[in-house]
């Protein structure tokens, strides 16, 4: 069954959606959309590093994403405004990564696949990595869920009930790095943040509790993956952007539905 490239693509996309949705809720709640973006952009730097040092790609992507996330946290702690730091770091990482890859003349690299993903080329071992990563992220999120939620609401309040907000932040950073590393194959560096933010934002008008939002975001994310894959096949369009288009459409539909619900 896994011989069919379409089945593999669907499974890869569903795995990524499963991991990205609950994490995406926190990205939205904590107003970290650009944090996700910066972490994702750092991945291309990881790819360049891996190629130049002849190291395996996945661990290097993880490392670069983690370093980026920690650097942003450290800099914002020193009085720089968050959006300025992210503006500097996200685009620098992307630019430096692209230049570094171009400088390695002897390496033939399908840059487009890293930037926009190549879900139809997912192999069985890719699938294994994606689902292992998704399982790891889901485990981490459900283990830390309540503490992370308390820390998101108010760090002092969390502290008073014995939750260390910094530890929870680190758990979240770790989860973000893993999602970036496994999502690169599916939607690419440029659109990972979309898969984090859009399903969560789409679920928001339809729900009343954080848990319902996570479940809603998961369903919307999975729907986007399947819809986007099918659309790409029908219309012969690039898969990554097609998935994001479906997510954007679901966001508009949910927003309209939410407005109607409130009126009635």
């Amino acid at each position: 069954m896994l011989d069919d490239f379409l089945i593999r693509a669907a499974l890869a996309g569903l795995g990524v959606a499963l991991a990205a949705a609950p994490l995406g809720c926190f990205v939205v709640w904590r107003r970290m959309a650009y944090f996700g973006e910066a972490t994702a952009h750092a991945a291309i730097l990881g790819v360049a590093l891996a190629l130049s040092l002849s190291l395996p790609v996945l661990p290097m992507i993880l490392t670069a994403a983690l370093i980026m996330a920690s650097a942003v946290s450290a800099l914002t702690g020193r009085g720089y405004a968050m959006d300025t730091v992210l503006g500097v770091m996200a685009h620098s990482a992307l630019a430096i990564g692209l230049v570094a890859v171009a400088l390695m003349a002897d390496v033939r690299l399908d840059l487009m696949a890293f930037l926009f993903g190549d879900i139809l080329a997912v192999t069985r071992s890719d699938l294994l990595v994606i689902w292992a990563g998704a399982a790891l992220v889901l485990t981490l999120m459900s283990w830390r869920w309540s503490a992370l939620l308390a820390a998101t609401l108010n760090p002092d309040l969390a502290r008073a009930s014995g939750v260390n907000p910094r530890r929870e932040e680190f758990a979240m950073t770790l989860a973000l790095a893993i999602v970036v590393a496994v999502a690169i194959k599916v939607v690419g560096v440029l659109l990972i943040a979309a898969l984090l933010v859009i399903p969560a934002a789409a679920a928001r008008p339809l729900v009343r509790t954080p848990e319902a939002m996570a479940v809603g975001a998961t369903l919307i994310g999975m729907g986007s993956v399947l819809g986007g894959l099918w659309g790409a096949l029908m219309l012969d369009t690039p898969t990554g952007p097609s998935i994001v288009c479906v997510a954007a459409f679901l966001f508009s539909a949910a927003t309209a539905a939410g407005a109607l619900l409130r009126k009635s």
């Binding site: 309540s146 503490a147 308390a150 009930s161 939002m213």
Partner: protein
């Protein structure tokens, strides 16, 4: 050091962004007492509470809590992002899940028994503060810390809130440390007032502090400087007095 104290500080110094905000703080909070902290803006009142819960590390000295001390904390302000859906009931279960009976009792104690299914974002200022109080009561605290809990409430609203705190203290027997944003209104039930301006300028019974020269130097003399002790019989609304009082504060 008082052995019975719930929490004590010795030679406590707190720096924020390399600037000393508080120094030489030596306080002991005894079980069951109500302590009100007053001081001008930026005097370090909230910083003191944050140091007591362990959110800020002392630059010098220390904060010692009794082992296993249960703390309830009501923060100065809590902005719940509109992107975060949260019912009152769910909020009470953070970070530890609690059963419905406990949640209902805490809401009851805080004076808002029917709010469970409401969205946090839809609550009025007074309701919101009471839900925060309910959540702080959840853990059956031995020490309740309130940071300008009546900010944004009108006079009758604050009066009602203070009354609630007294009731909670009576029921749970917990110590209460509250920062008052309104220098002139200090609960009559306060056992002690701490007047803070970068350090503890003076402390003692409300009446003692009101007549202390350090307090007068900070807040002036005459009617403006006097502590207006909130008492139950004054808690109903006097529209005229209310407005008058506000003019006074602005000119102060």
């Amino acid at each position: 050091m008082t052995p019975a104290a719930l929490v004590s500080t010795r030679n406590l110094r707190i720096d924020v962004n390399n600037r000393t905000v508080l120094r030489d703080v030596n306080i002991d909070i005894a079980p069951g007492e109500i302590v009100t902290v007053v001081g001008p803006n930026g005097s370090g009142k909230s910083t003191l509470l944050r140091a007591l819960i362990g959110a800020i590390r002392p630059a010098d000295g220390f904060v010692r809590k009794r082992a296993g001390l249960r703390i309830g904390y009501v923060p100065q302000k809590l902005a719940i992002d509109g992107a975060l859906p949260m019912t009152v009931r769910r909020f009470l279960s953070l970070p530890r899940r609690i059963d419905n009976a406990t949640a209902a009792r805490a809401l009851e104690q805080a004076g808002v028994p029917d709010l469970g299914p409401r969205q946090m974002a839809d609550l009025s200022g007074g309701q919101f503060q009471r839900v925060l109080l309910a959540r702080a009561l959840m853990e059956r605290p031995e020490l309740l810390l309130l940071d300008e809990a009546t900010q944004g409430l009108d006079q009758p609203g604050s009066a009602a809130f203070y009354r609630q705190i007294e009731e909670v203290r009576r029921e749970l027997g917990c110590a209460v440390v509250m920062v008052s944003h309104d220098l002139h209104v200090v609960m009559a039930a306060s056992d002690r007032v701490l007047c803070i301006n970068g350090h503890v300028c003076c402390e003692g019974a409300p009446e003692t502090v009101a007549s202390a020269p350090e307090y007068r130097a900070l807040f002036g003399t005459g009617t403006r400087g006097a502590l207006a002790l909130y008492r139950h019989e004054h808690s109903h609304r006097h529209d005229h007095d209310h407005d008058h009082g506000h003019d006074h504060e602005k000119s102060a």
